[in-house]
């Protein structure tokens, strides 16, 4: 739908390249990471430091799995011939999902920083607001992915 009439007949277009089942799994993973980060925040609010740390680590882990899935997808596309500069679809796709992946990575760095702070005993319910802000950032990343996944991957071409 997005690239109709813009890229000619090619075997390097969206229909041919996307592996929807694979991407669905990584989408699901990211969605669940939104849940875990909320649980981390509520646990911290209750001063359940141990549990908040567990949820924090899970969120970072799930995020890392998502990024890993993206990296795998990118390298698979590249091996099949779709590079960044190959055609309009390649450019647009890699830029959009690449920027998203960078934002997820930054989020993982945030989460791990908080995890390290927690290990050093500096993350208590008094710093709840800080974690909540990071949680909002993480949800933003997730929400953008919801839109990207639907429009880029799922809309019939």
């Amino acid at each position: 739908m997005l690239y109709k009439d813009r890229i000619g007949p090619t075997d390097l277009g969206p229909e041919e390249m996307f592996d929807i089942p694979f991407t669905s799994v990584s989408s699901f993973v990211l969605l669940m990471s939104s849940l875990t980060v909320v649980l981390a925040i509520t646990a911290l609010r209750r001063n359940d430091i141990r549990r908040s740390r567990i949820w924090l680590l899970s969120t970072a882990l799930l995020g890392a799995i998502f990024v890993g899935g993206q990296v795998y997808e990118f390298t698979a596309f590249y091996r099949e011939g779709l590079g960044y500069t190959t055609n309009l679809f390649g450019t647009a796709f890699f830029t959009l999902t690449g920027f998203h992946g960078v934002h997820v990575t930054v989020g993982i760095i945030f989460l791990m920083s908080m995890y390290i702070q927690s290990m050093r005993g500096r993350l208590t319910s008094a710093q709840e607001e800080r974690l909540e802000i990071i949680g909002l950032y993480w949800h933003f990343v997730d929400v953008v992915w919801i839109v990207i996944f639907t429009i880029v991957y799922l809309f019939p071409q």
Binding site: R6, G8, T85, R122, S125, A126
Partner: protein
């Protein structure tokens, strides 16, 4: 009225508790203290100092951009001239546009916003003081980055040359091989960050930090206009950020966003740029509208006529500004339906501005007008902007615009609204608030004479351009052949341009000589309220003390300060209730905690231009710049909001040495600066 629920002890956020931070959390680097030396300007988080720095930088860039304009005018003063080659001329007019809009007009607006918004709403500072400092340093870095293109790689080799709106695919690698467009894209990306961050800061400030009793509809018009500007910036800056990213990736990494051969749309850049570009011009003009909405009531001794209409027309301008962007694209082949639709919407947007013009006139009507220098400038804005607005309405007719576009008629239009509307308004604002900010008057004599030189020069420069445009002189041409009838008016325009330069020099002279005269005791101190003005910033000493107000002001009416000085007797006549000196705070309550200075914003901001140079020249610089940014951000985040070393009771003094360690737990939040 705040949105965030304040707690019982508003000065102590929960997050401030916990382990008391060490007094030297990062080893050798101790936190800077307050005071007035060069370090205090470098590390300040005080909105007033930041506002002054924005103003100084904006004025400096205005002069640089003006010098570029003088070169252009010299080149065009005679047909067949060869002062500037064609390639250089392209760079000069591009840089003139970019500097004037992004490095002069926006920062001057930011200067007024930063200095005056907290004062006008009765607050201590903005919502996020360190972020405010970050904004300024990022802007300065980006501006210097842009200007450095002038001499890097040789004089005038690598400056952007694609016009200030840099249409792609023309600005892609194929047609613009020099590094100029890279400087353009990355430089504007950096200054864009500054604007966006500042917008968020000021929106939160206006929504959260108004004095008790000040509802939104009791705010001064200037604050309202600036608030709308920040909302416009919030939604418009991301669009240009995206466009610049696409351009940068096309140029640096071979992306295909503007590559027509691969299926890209040749109009994509134009749409993206103008979706940003049109709200941008309202970002430019609304601060000036706000400034004259403060000056005119003061010097007409009447409240602004139709306050709700002024507010709602400002909101309407902001909202409708999103629906007119393709009027910059009438000649680019968008098709008759789009052209017709945008033509109509452009005609509509003249209406709210017309409402404002009529309201200003109605404010002056029947008032006891004093034509001081600021009032002269404000009146000139009303007149000049009307002229520029009328030529703008002629552009809205797409059929007529097909003749006018890319001629000097357009140049005349936008200079009348930009210079006549924005710059004259800002100069009026300078004269109006100078006594408040710096504590001495600017000479009225020099002010009035420089005003006339400026206005006459301005009209001589841009008035004839209407004629030139309609006679067919195209814009952005390096020279023209004689015998087309362009010679006389071009010469007149050049003379006018030099008159503007003289007027600007007279302003600088005014600043220097007035300060000297004041220091020598020849002029009087202005006191808190030299103009008998209406809003809260006049209710404190001049220059404004570091803590702004001595105590929280409870606001009951719009123009609260005015109503404390003047009331009505039984016959309905206006009688004085109190003198300004009685009502205004004298700045003596220095027992106030202020947000501590910090150097992390500067560190983080310094990394961005380094990343910029890295993108153009060597990716290792990107790593270095990235380290600065990352380190700066981490240091910033983990720095306690207030310096535990700072002695609470002397934050406001010039003395800079405070070595006592505060007792744990009394670290109050400087980020939420409710006064109590």
């Amino acid at each position: 009225m705040t949105i965030v629920e304040s707690e019982e002890t508003p000065l102590e956020l929960e997050s401030a508790e916990g382990e008391p931070p060490a007094d030297k959390p990062l080893g050798a680097f101790t936190r800077p203290q307050g005071g007035n030396g060069w370090k205090d300007w470098l590390f300040t988080v005080d909105h007033k100092k930041i506002g002054i720095m924005y103003g100084a930088a904006g004025l400096l860039f205005f002069i640089i951009g003006g010098i570029y304009a003088l070169f252009m005018r010299l080149q065009l003063s005679r047909p067949g001239n060869s002062i500037l080659s064609a390639e250089t001329y392209n760079q000069v007019f591009t840089m003139h546009g970019v500097i004037m809009i992004f490095l002069a007009a926006i920062p001057l607006g930011a200067a007024f916003a930063n200095y005056l918004i907290p004062l006008q709403i009765g607050a201590r500072d903005v919502a996020f003081p360190r972020l405010n400092a970050f904004s300024f340093w990022v802007f300065l870095g980006g501006g210097l980055f842009l200007l450095s293109s002038m001499f890097i790689g040789g004089w005038w080799e690598n400056s952007p040359d694609g016009g200030w709106f840099a249409y792609s695919p023309n600005t892609g690698v194929l047609f613009s091989p020099s590094k100029g467009i890279d400087f353009f894209a990355i430089g504007l990306q950096i200054t864009g960050i500054a604007s966006l961050v500042g917008a968020i800061n000021l929106i939160v400030t206006v929504l959260n930090m108004r004095a008790p009793g000040m509802t939104l509809m009791k705010m001064p018009i200037l604050t309202w206009m600036l608030f709308i500007v920040q909302l416009l910036l919030l939604f418009a800056m991301p669009v240009i950020s995206i466009a610049l990213f696409l351009l940068t990736f096309d140029r640096l990494f071979g992306a295909n966003f503007f590559n027509v051969a691969e299926g890209a749309d040749p109009l994509l850049w134009q749409h993206l740029f103008w979706i940003f570009g049109h709200p941008e011009v309202y970002v430019l003009i609304l601060p000036s509208f706000g400034v004259i909405s403060e000056i005119i009531p003061t010097f007409s001794r009447k409240p602004i006529f139709g306050y709700p209409f002024m507010v709602f027309s400002g909101i309407a301008i902001g909202f409708m500004g999103w629906g007119v962007w393709a009027h910059h694209m009438f000649a680019s082949g968008v098709g008759p339906v789009a052209v017709a639709a945008f033509s109509v919407s452009t005609m509509f947007i003249a209406v709210p501005t017309g409402v404002k013009i009529l309201n200003w006139l109605a404010t002056m009507w029947g008032g006891r007008i004093r034509f001081t220098t600021p009032m002269l400038y404000a009146t000139a804005v009303v007149a000049m902007f009307t002229i520029g607005g009328l030529s703008g309405v002629t552009h809205s007719l797409a059929a007529a615009d097909s003749q006018q576009t890319d001629t000097y008629y357009i140049v005349a239009h936008f200079h009348y609204v930009i210079f006549g509307g924005i710059i004259l308004g800002f100069f009026g604002g300078f004269y109006f608030w100078w006594p408040k900010i710096f504590g001495y008057f600017l000479s009225e004599k020099i002010g009035k004479s420089s005003f006339w030189v400026m206005v006459i020069g301005f009209n001589l420069t841009f008035g004839p351009m209407h004629i030139l445009g309609l006679q067919g002189m195209s814009r952005r041409i390096q020279t023209y052949s004689s015998g087309q009838g362009f010679d006389l008016w071009n010469l007149v325009a050049t003379i006018g341009a030099f008159m503007i330069a003289i007027a600007t020099a007279m302003f600088i002279w005014n600043v220097i000589s007035s300060r000297k005269a004041f220091k020598a005791g020849e002029t009087q101190a202005p006191g808190p309220d030299p103009w008998d003005a209406r809003s809260l910033e006049w209710m404190t000493a001049s220059p404004v003390p570091e803590h702004n107000f001595d105590e929280t002001i409870h606001v009951e009416k719009q123009d609260e300060f005015w109503h404390r000085k003047w009331g009505k007797n039984e016959e309905g006549q206006v009688v004085r209730r109190a003198t300004a000196e009685e009502v205004a705070h004298d700045g003596s309550n220095t027992n106030v905690h202020l947000p501590s200075p910090s150097y992390w914003p500067l560190v983080a901001a310094a990394g961005l231009p380094i990343i910029g140079y890295g993108l153009i020249y060597s990716l290792w610089l990107c790593v270095l710049g990235g380290l600065f940014v990352l380190g700066g951000l981490y240091g910033w985040v983990f720095e306690p909001v207030d310096d535990p070393n700072a002695d609470d009771h002397h934050d406001d003094h010039e003395d800079g040495s405070h070595a006592e360690l505060e007792s744990a737990g009394v670290t109050s939040s400087g980020e939420e600066t409710t006064i109590e």
